[in-house]
Symmetry: C2
Subunit: 282 residues, 2 copies
């Protein structure tokens, strides 16, 4: 079992992968990405991730080099080659290699990079105990629905959270909740799940969508709407949703307890449903 | 004479420079950069560019590996090695190489990349005739005073300009002029030069500052203030200012003529002053 790299249609050891400094990913963040979890050799929600990769690529006017079937074939091959039962696939496509110029290059193939690495499971204690979050101003650009490589504000927000002893930072844009630095945000009020509606300021999370569907199937009410920042301090529960963190209960926000200060029943119910959903996929 | 690369304190041919796909520049745009022009072997306004690199690095909480003197020594060495009389130095520092995680890496050295390439002179006809520009919404993040690698909106704006038959796009944020995708914007009304004041929404251009100083020395009035987008259509002159384009007169904006539709006297005067300033530097 070993980490595997993939560059421009060729598998190699991850150490072998070398990128040109003229890659537009390196100089402009001119590219898009996805992260896919593989449980027991099976990529989880792959079609959903590939559809979003296509959405992101269209958003920056980049033509993806593969069809979903071609992606899938290569991803399955990489999973097989790395040999890890549970692994994490990172997929990145940039606009290619050309001497630096803001303008799109004329003749230039996109750079396709993938890594296949062993999955480091999240500390289960975190999910059991719940996590602290902070709120930070959302200073990101206007197209956060695109999963692009322009991630500096996300990096800075996450680091700020860590330094405040928190797990994640929740972005607030003009008094309104958008999302975490690498996850979506949901709140529970009187048994109803509320989450920011999809727009250019949030990423349409794959896990977010699954959770909303699962909630509806279990008879829970779901409401996608504008959520004011101050509401975060008046809720019964908050939880985060994402590919790697799955369902993560929030027990404190800006040092104030959320609800009882313990993971709430709806978060726990949805977390169990999501685990069940995942187990039925493999 | 040959293109030269520099990676982590070592000179090499530019083709030899290879970047890890785990470089945070490649996956997060987690880095800063500068472009320095070298005329007759002499880096132009190097201390100003290095000071701004320091400002940018502080803005993303990155510690630069070199003092200004250490940068200068290496840049002069690169200029010597490449052998071009006029060359363009690209300087990029990222937060280093580490398996993907938004959080700052604990132990990790920054990646220092530089390229030394022959300068391609700008078509003088452009400056003689002036250029067309378009206006586009400014959807960039809230810290455009940082010269970071998160340049996707700049790339998309510049490409949009090209496809509209224009040279540059001017960003408009909530009805207010900020800057071009890779330059500052100045307007002339009744002989007075106006330009957006420095704040988090514009890059404090090195050329911008020199031009404002030169204008004052020549007895021209200068006013740094908020400029409404609609003012762009009521001015005598517009010009762009930047390291590579120097002073570039704008003769049409969104297909409407600026002033007489010809490069104006103030733009031409300042362009000549800037040429004179540069010639005195070398």
């Amino acid at each position: 079992m070993t980490d595997i790299g993939f560059l421009n249609d060729r598998f190699m050891s991850l150490e072998e992968v070398k990128i040109s400094p003229d890659d537009r990913g390196f100089q402009f963040g001119d590219g898009v990405y996805e992260v896919v979890m593989v449980y027991e050799g099976k990529p989880c929600l792959l079609q959903e991730h590939l559809a979003r990769l296509e959405h992101s690529a269209q958003g920056i006017r980049l033509t993806l080099p593969y069809t979903p079937a071609e992606w899938e074939q290569r991803i399955l091959e990489g999973v097989k080659r790395c040999g890890y039962q549970h692994c994490k696939v990172y997929i990145q496509v940039t606009r290619g290699i050309v001497p630096r110029d803001h303008l799109f290059p004329g003749q230039c193939s996109p750079t396709i990079f993938m890594s296949f690495r062993e999955m480091t499971p999240l500390d289960e204690n975190l999910r059991q105990r719940g996590v602290k979050v902070i709120t930070v101003p959302d200073i990101r650009w206007g197209r956060c629905d695109i999963k692009s490589l322009n991630l500096l504000p996300n990096v800075l927000g996450k680091q700020q959270a860590k330094e405040a002893g928190a797990f994640e930072a929740i972005f607030i844009r003009e008094g309104v909740v958008t999302e975490g630095t690498s996850c979506n945000v949901m709140i529970v009020r009187s048994g109803v799940i509320h989450t920011p509606e999809s727009n250019h300021h949030i990423l349409e999370g794959v896990t977010r969508k699954i959770l909303l569907d699962l909630a509806k199937k279990e008879g829970l009410s779901v409401c996608e709407r504008t959520i004011k920042a101050k509401e975060l301090f008046e809720v019964d529960e908050i939880f985060l949703a994402g590919t790697t963190i799955e369902v993560m209960p929030v027990v404190a926000i800006d040092e104030k307890p959320v609800g009882t200060g313990q993971p709430g029943p709806t978060s726990q119910q949805l977390s169990a449903s999501y685990q069940d959903f995942l187990s039925r996929l493999v």
